[in-house]
Subunit: 227 residues, 2 copies
DNA sequence: GGTAATCTTTACAACATCTTTATAAAAACG
DNA sequence: CGTTTTTATAAAGATGTTGTAAAGATTACC
């Protein structure tokens, strides 16, 4: 299992943390651990995880409050893990934007299956996994990019950026949006990053990087991948 | 509550059917009831419900089998309701494509919240704003303007101005109003700005900029976008 | 632990857009 | 019809945004 998808765990109970760390790690996920709500919010913004496991009983802030704050900008799945079993808590969490709710103690296998189910929804749109634009080919299934049938070597970040743009071909993406999607919400104010990586990408995929055909600049707004 | 979304219930237990029928109906959903697996498959195909509630213990076919068959073409949420509480069943159902799994007896409020959570994921997109005026297309969702299907390159300000005018097509907008909306309060006394940008826009979207079809001058008052 | 690759930051050059000015053209008005 | 007011257009200068190279910092990998 080579997922390499990152899961953020916001929970202060040591046994749970340890269990999740081992179980999720064994299933090929990258793990980030936060011990309280504030740390969790920061980690979510800086690491851009594919999914968040959130405990409601945190030492500093109520988990429901963290959930609400996360949902102001975080669109990916959030699964609640909690000892609280009242209908009120469950309904509130789900209506606050949680995708699922598991009561502790939970069964590890079930949690794994629920994580897979939650991630599947996001990844589902990937039945469209081969893009072709002129001499440029992007195969997201095999994680391969070719130009004139020659393999283009891209770093992880460059690849993520290219796929994001290609998936939204024809559409203008703002700097903020791209930064949020590729680097995480915490990087929204770093447009220079984006410029550097756009320049790198153009060097690798454009015939004339100074006269780009694929990645078009929309000055003052963002970039557009040309159809 | 006026959802009018259709939910298909595939379950043979009369008390459950009755309970769901009443609860879901009270929450504004349309209900379709199927008493066995085959009927459920047919109803799903003919009614294309927004969500399916599926019992695993059906009289004719195993619910897991129905789930697999549904998932061959049905992409919307499926929530399992079952008396079976083994981890094996839960994991299998989730991996077969179920979005959620509730064991009977369940709490009605929790089920409602889980239905809302499942439907929320699907219902998000599609505020697709598309204006069409003759050969001119303005797609505010993608931030793209086309003339005779050719992309028109606009600066950020030009675009804002055009969208403002198009959104108020047929109405006369005063200089002051446009200046306030596009540039802000401090620019209300700068009608020359507006003239410069209107001229730019006309050069880009009009066939004959000196005989404008779209952006009409209302001398002494402002401009009007012709319908 | 050392090396290579990648990411982050900095500085400045290149470019696009905005603002201002000047002048011509058109419309309004008596 | 001539005068005044309003509008259109081009172009130059000012400002802001983007592109690029390269050095320093960090991370990944052997």
């Amino acid at each position: 299992m080579e997922n390499k998808e990152t899961i953020l765990i916001i929970d202060d109970e040591l046994p749970i943390r340890r269990l999740l760390d081992i179980t999720l790690g064994a299933n090929g996920y990258n793990i980030i651990l936060s011990v309280n709500g504030h740390e969790g919010l920061v980690d979510a913004a800086t690491h851009n995880p594919a999914l968040i496991l959130l405990d409601l009983g945190l030492p500093d802030v109520d988990g429901q409050e963290i959930l609400v704050q996360l949902r102001e900008w975080y669109q990916k799945p959030i699964i609640i893990l909690s000892v609280r079993n009242s209908e009120e808590d469950i309904v509130k969490a789900l209506d606050n934007g949680a995708n699922d709710y598991l009561t502790k103690p939970f069964r590890a296998g079930e949690l794994m299956a629920r994580i897979r189910a939650a991630l599947r929804i996001v990844t589902k749109s990937d039945d469209n996994n081969l893009f072709e634009f002129g001499s440029l080919q992007i195969d997201t299934h095999n994680h391969v990019v070719k130009k004139n049938n020659d393999l283009v070597k891209l770093t992880a970040t460059e690849y993520t950026l290219l796929v994001l743009m290609a998936q939204n071909a024809g559409r203008v993406l703002t700097h903020q949006y791209i930064l949020k999607e590729v680097w995480g919400y915490g990087y929204v104010e770093q447009p220079q990053y984006l410029r550097v990586f756009i320049a790198q990408l153009r060097k690798k995929i454009e015939d004339e990087p100074s006269k780009p055909k694929y990645i078009i600049t929309e000055s003052g707004i963002g970039y557009r991948f040309s159809e």
